[in-house]
């Protein structure tokens, strides 16, 4: 497991450099995570983090309203699907079209020690965040030593 953790609170200047450096360092998937069948290069782009409670999966979905996103779990598989609408107005002449529109779906396989039944999702400013807690039995536990 990675030993690096972004500090809290992050300094606005050095924090951005720190975050960018760490994301860059991990861009080649050095942890060799087995994510299943849908890979890099598909929309939406995805980052995976861990925190003290479990995993945090984050996807960039600019222009997709939360009600157009569907998240489904089956076994260890998490699937995010939805639709991104083309920009209007009708009948306008298009000068530039760099933003792709249409339907999307991505799936990943998560490790066994996560409890997908307790996953929670939120979408803010075009970023979808899915938090998946560890199973209770997978959490570190402190064992008190009693005097004999």
């Amino acid at each position: 497991m990675a030993l690096f953790r972004l500090s809290s609170p992050l300094d606005p200047i050095s924090g951005l450099l720190e975050l960018q450096r760490e994301l860059e360092r991990l861009a080649e998937n050095p942890l060799g995570m087995d994510l299943g069948f849908s890979g890099r290069g598909a929309f939406p782009a995805m980052n995976i983090f861990s925190d003290k409670d479990g995993y945090v999966v984050r996807l960039e979905v600019p222009g997709v309203p939360p009600e157009q996103i569907s998240i489904e779990t089956r076994g260890r598989t998490l699937t995010v699907s939805g639709r991104r609408a083309a920009s209007g107005p009708e009948g306008a002449s298009v000068h530039r079209r760099e933003r792709e529109a249409g339907e999307f779906a991505r799936s990943i396989q998560l490790p066994d020690d996560l409890d997908l039944s307790r996953a929670e999702a939120g979408c803010k400013h075009g970023i979808l965040t899915i938090r998946i807690p560890k199973r209770e039995e997978a959490k570190p536990r402190q064992i008190t030593v009693k005097a004999a």
Binding site: A27, P44, E100
Partner: protein, 132 residues
């Protein structure tokens, strides 16, 4: 039928030394359309809220800039990454005369929408032809 898979382009870093903020700055993907009355622009800036975006029009050059918040990343350990996080900036030379006073900007779901109304002078005008 499986839906057509949308692809994602790697974010392009802004080149040139014109940004004053530290760290990497990315070029947002945009759509630009034109109607008889206005130019319309949409820019993908995921992670940017309505208080962290700036739009400037100066001598026919439109500049947009968005700053991301780092708050959501505190206490996280990256495990797998496909995209990097950074501020956004892009500039455009506008082909039409725009009425700067009436520009409308809106941020929704990480997309900046701009309506840039043309000045009366720049609007297409039909010239009636009278029978001679």
């Amino acid at each position: 039928m499986t839906p057509q898979e949308l692809s994602v382009k790697a974010k392009q870093e802004l080149s040139g030394g014109e940004h004053t903020r530290p760290g990497r700055t990315y070029v947002p993907d945009v759509d630009i359309s034109e109607t008889p009355d206005s130019l319309w622009l949409w820019a993908d800036m995921p992670g940017v809220d309505e208080h962290s975006v700036e739009v400037k029009l100066d001598e026919g050059v439109l500049a947009i800039e968005g700053r991301v918040s780092l708050k959501e990343y505190e206490g996280l350990t990256p495990l797998y990454t496909e995209y990097n996080v950074g501020n956004y900036a892009r500039r455009f030379s506008l082909s039409a005369d725009i009425d700067a006073e009436r520009i409308k900007a809106r941020m929704a779901n990480g997309v900046l929408e701009l309506e840039l109304p043309k000045t009366a002078r720049a609007k297409p005008r039909k010239i009636p032809i009278s029978a001679g």
